[in-house]
Structures are given as C-alpha cells and as structure tokens.
Symmetry: C2
Subunit: 426 residues, 2 copies
Amino acid sequence: MNALNVTEYVQTLGLQAKVASALMASASAAIKNVALRSLASQLRAQAPQLKEANSLDLARARAAGLAEPMVDRLKLTDQVLETCAQGCEQLAAMPDVIGEIVGMNQQPSGIRVGRMRVPIGVFGMIYESRPNVTIEAASLAIKSGNAAILRGGSEAIESNRALALLVQQALQAAGLPQDAVQLVQTTDREAVGQLIAMPAFVDVIIPRGGKGLIERISAGAKVPVIKHLDGNCHSYVDDPCDLDMALRVVDNAKTQKYSPCNASESLLVARAVAPEFLPRIGAVFAKKQVEMRVCAESMALLAPISGAKLVPATEQDWAEEYLAPVISIKVVAGVDEAIAHINRYSSHHTDAILTRDHLHAQQFLREVDSASVMVNASTRFADGFEYGLGAEIGISTDKFHARGPVGIEGLTSLKWVVLGQGEVRG
Amino acid sequence: MNALNVTEYVQTLGLQAKVASALMASASAAIKNVALRSLASQLRAQAPQLKEANSLDLARARAAGLAEPMVDRLKLTDQVLETCAQGCEQLAAMPDVIGEIVGMNQQPSGIRVGRMRVPIGVFGMIYESRPNVTIEAASLAIKSGNAAILRGGSEAIESNRALALLVQQALQAAGLPQDAVQLVQTTDREAVGQLIAMPAFVDVIIPRGGKGLIERISAGAKVPVIKHLDGNCHSYVDDPCDLDMALRVVDNAKTQKYSPCNASESLLVARAVAPEFLPRIGAVFAKKQVEMRVCAESMALLAPISGAKLVPATEQDWAEEYLAPVISIKVVAGVDEAIAHINRYSSHHTDAILTRDHLHAQQFLREVDSASVMVNASTRFADGFEYGLGAEIGISTDKFHARGPVGIEGLTSLKWVVLGQGEVRG
C-alpha cells in the first residue's frame, strides 16, 4: 500500500468500527458472554493452527537475529493460549457493568437524575511483540461493549492475523458484528499515524510498549491517550516500623521480578531506623547481586557489607527506572522528607510506606501524588488482577479519566439519565 | 511584554500554581470554607470598588462601539456580585469530597484496595467577557483543593484584576497560598498558547466561550481539554404519548430561552401522532414567532396554521444549533428512526424522548449516545445546578473523564489506595 491507500484503509477500519460500536453497545450481556466462551474454546481447539502461524513469526524473528528473550515474548505456547482462553472465560463470568445506573436522586424540580455506564465507543490499541495482547484487548472490547482497532507489532503479524480471525469468527458465531474487533492488516508505520488522528471514529488510544512508543503516540494523537510512561516506584521505610516486615516487603518489591513497572526502583529509609535496617536489606541485596546507588549516609552504613555493589548515587539516579537488579537508596529525616522526595522524583505510578504510625500512614496516603499509594504492602501489587479488576488493559500514569490499573471501567463513560413526568424549567 | 517575556511569565504562573496545588490538596475542608466565606463577605463589602474597576471596562467597551447586549454581559451589578457571593457560600456549605474513599474491598492476597478522591492538581480556565466567571472558577478551585490559572477576556481585564485581588486576599486570610488562584495579567494572545502547552504544570484546560475559541484551544492544547462544543439538542415526541404533556415540555425546551446550549433545536415526531401534535405545537411556535424548518410531511401538516413561519428544511438544518427562535421539525416512523436520526445529527449534548411506552423509554436511554438523555422532561434541565452538582465549571460534550455538566467531581481524580499488613507478591 502507498501512503494514500494506507490512510484510506485505516479510515475504512474506523468507519466500520464506529458502525459496529453502536451494535456492541446495545448487545446483551448474555450474547457478549457467548462470544467470549466461543473464543475460549476456539483458542484451545485451534491451538495447532495458531502455533503454526506463530512459527512463521518466530522463524522470521530468528532469521533477523532477534535476541532469544525477544523471541520468547513472541511465542504462542500451549500455556500462553490456555491463559488467554481462561482470561476470556473469566471475563464471561464477571458481572456486566454496561447499563449500571449510579446515584439516581430526585432534584428539587422533581426530575430524577442519575448516571448510566455505557461503552466509550471505539478504542485503538497499539502494542509491540506479545501476540497474546491481541486476545486480551479483543476480549476486553467484547465484554465492555466497545469496538476495537488493534495494531500489533510487525514481528507478530502472522500470529495476530490468526488470532484476530478467531476473534471475528467468535463474534460472528454469537451474532455480533465482526468489525467489533479489527486488526490493522498492514505493517506500514503510516497506519499508526492515521489511527491516532481520527477523532470522528476513535474515542481513545491505548498504547502498550516502551517509553519511546508512548511518547511518539502521545505527541501525535488527536484523541485522548491512556498512557503509561515509566514506573519509578518507591518503598519508604518509616520510623517506627516493624523491620522484619519491611525487610520482607522491600525485598519482594525489588527482587521478586526486576522487569515489571511496579517493581520498586528506589528505597527511602528514615534516619532513626537506617542504622538497623540498611545493613539488613543491604545484605539481602548483596546476596542477590543487586547494585545499590546510594547517598553518602547510606554508603557509610552499607560499606561494611561484604560483596555489596555500592555506587554513589547521582541526581539522575533518583529519577531512574532501572527495570534491572539496581536500586537507589537514600536516608531521609522522616515522612515529610520522604513525601517531598517522592513527589519530586516519582513517576506517579506506585509508592509505598512501611510504617507502624497511623498518622504517617494517613499523611502518606493523602499527600503522595501517585496513581497507587500503599501502606505496608509490596509495590508489586499494583496490577489490575491484584486489584480485583478481573482484567487490565493497561496502567495509566495520568490523572485524567483513568488512573493506575485500567480495567473495563476505564473503557466506559457515565452519561446522565434524567427521568421526568413532564417537568419544565421555570 | 514581548513574546519571550510572555512565555516566561506564564511558565512562572504555572510553576507557582504547581507549588500551591500541593498545599491546596492537603488543606482541610474547614480552612477552604473559611476562604470561601471570606471571599463572599469581601464581594459584598468591596462592591463599590469592584463596580469602579468594572466601570473602566464598560467605558472602554462603549468607546470601542461594543453592542449594548455585549456591554451588558460585562457589567458587575450589585445583583451579579450578590449572586457570586451566594455561590461561594453555597460551596462552603457543601460537603467536601476530597479524601472520600470508595469501594475499599479485600482481595484474595489479603490487601485491601479502594480509591481516594483527590484534586486533579492545576486547571487552566480560558473564558470570554463575563467577569463573574472569575469568581465561579476561583471558588470551585478553592472548594476542590486545586490551583487555577485564569485567563479572562481582555475586555474585562480591569474587573478581573479587581476580583482576582479579592480572591487572593481571601486565600491569604485563610492561610492558604495566594498562588492557588492566579489571573493572567497580560492580555497578550501568546499567553493562551503557552497556558495550554505546559503539561508539567497544568493538568487540564477548561475553555468557556464560542465554538471558535474552543476549537482553537483543542487544536493547540498539549494537555486534556474539558470541551463544550455545540448543543444541537432534540426532543422526540413518541407514540404513544400524553400530547398535553409533550406540548408543555417541547414549548419549554424550545422557547423558555433561546440562547442556552440546552434549548432544543430540533423536534422529531412519531408519524402516528404527528397529525394531532404538529398543528398544536405549530400554533404555539407561530404565536411566538418561532421559524420552523420542516420536512415535507411536516410542511403538509403545518401549512394550514395562520402566521406560521415555515421553511423547507435542508440537510444542514438537521445538524444546526440555532440559539435563536428557529427549530427544525421532522416526522419519523417511530423510536428506532428517532434514535438513528439523533445519533447521526445530534451534538451529543442532550436529547429527550416524550413517551408513555416503557420499552421505548428504556431503549432511548440506552441507545442515544449523548451526555444527557431524558424521558418526559425539558432538555433545558441539562445543567449542573439542576442536576444537584452545586456548581458547574462547564458542560462537556466529550466522553472522556467528565461528560455533561461538570461539577467539583470533574476537577478531581481517583487514586488507588492499598492497605496491607506486610503482604508480598507470590
């Protein structure tokens, strides 16, 4: 396709999605669940064909010299497909939020005013390698009564085509419009530029991928973007604090997995507990080969630990998302300095206080300006499944519309409903 | 100021607002209410000085040959100031929503997860002539715990300066930061361009004014915009329907006031009731000199009415917001065609069905894709005060974040709160 054809092609997808979205919005909960269950059973039944399509992507990736961890992310194993199928079944089992009416109250004029939850319309999803995101996005679109236009990574195009075909078959089997979930079939980059600039057809764009991708999309989008930039998460060990608990939680927050956005990248410790706590957590990090970028005060307390990888922290370290066995460490006077430091350097994703003090806990919850604020828990819990959302379309570091883990509710809007008996305005 | 100075000046306002917003977010409900009540009493006490400042704007406007209705909108009368003062007192009397926690539930891991309502941070308000908007925006900022940067019209600059000074005095008297409400002191247009392009300092822009202003701002903004474009509202008279009630409501929706965005601009009538209803409403419109832009079928039914101003409707009429004694009229087969017509031509502001049929009412509420959908009530009710919001910062025709009348809740976000007892992720 040339650029003009790509533009027209994506506009056609947009128009088709818009038409389908009205039918999806009025589809019954039962029918949407039929489509989800049918998709689940087809994911299992068609596993051989899906893996065959996937093998084409894998072969191309290896031929292009892609590193093996990247190839792994592309892989559709039986396990990955089973997880996708179970995800669809879990969504089917969840209550349907569309049509929910909240806060219906009578006003002095006599009219009754409330709000009804309705699908947002059409969302565009732009993502990178993992083909299972195709199923996650499609199943969320179906359950939430939206239409979706999916643009996966070019490295997964064969897998995505095979998966999208299954989705459309499941929609059709349930009597829903096939265009409710459409895959952008071209890998042309121009398609993304068009997809994010059609306010007449697309209500919101959800990018999932690296910071570069998300910044490019945010800069060019003509519609709202649910964006997730970086996760520079903090754990702050307060005074007073149960230090055994803090040791367990901080260790988990940093080392349970290094790559997730909700892993802690920075440890703050109250001065009064630092001499006791820092050598203990430092020994844990030393054993696990976690490099520590530390303030001068921490350096003095950590230096005696044998095998500790200690590096003096620079200003840059306080703002850094390592996604690696590296953590920055700073001693602070107490909760006020911890909150000020976090509000300055955090990416507003997730920050936790570990404390015994009720007033400090309350202050931290109120004053830390992040999408998730926690008391005595690992930052690793910041996740749609752990929060009980059932599914997660992404995590937003913005404050507008959806904040933090975004589930089905983030794909809906509340419209006002007014019930009268012939009232007029005086 | 030259352009460079304007940029630096507006950035300084942004930085100051950002700093103030953290203090506002943690201010107690009591202190915010002290500021609001003090502002109310100063609006009354300083009325002579405010009217003096206002007289400079009025003189300038008249000298520039501004039409008298425009001059009227600029005027700060005792009545306008009293309404402003009462608005502040009403806000002070309302419950404080900041810190409200919703949906706190225990998850399988043991953590308790809920959401806390917090201020959105800093909003920028861009508006035209009426200086009382300065007080409405300032008082909403104070109550909601946000900081605001206000950019009023150049024609009201003296009035706005005097009002903003009172606001800052009230903030100071209550021990709140003066920078919580700042007026852009220059009338340079470049200031608007800068204000809408500072995502580091401003979280949302709220424009209030004509469609041209709002389109310019939406096109240039680098932050979310709560935008209100046009209000092409419909009233649909269904079959079956209590036609006496419909006559009263449609008359009110069109003629109670012609200029508001929630006035009905289009009347749809079910074919089965058209022969009885159209001549009756046509007579009302004829008497009130309301011009009717009508479909061929309506024309035949309305032609016999003496004095009726009848014009054949063009395609353009179905999409038009007249804000004048003009209404478009179309006969439709029934509720399905009415919904399809509305979803095609409505501006998604407010649309109403007048009906006796329960299933039609339900279908209309679910399927009409507008910010407000009504049954048996006048579209003129679409308003923050009538909806019980206490105050209204604007009306959004978007679906993202805030939809329809936007009150204090639209100036807040919900952050996740996690309460644990040392839980870690397995």
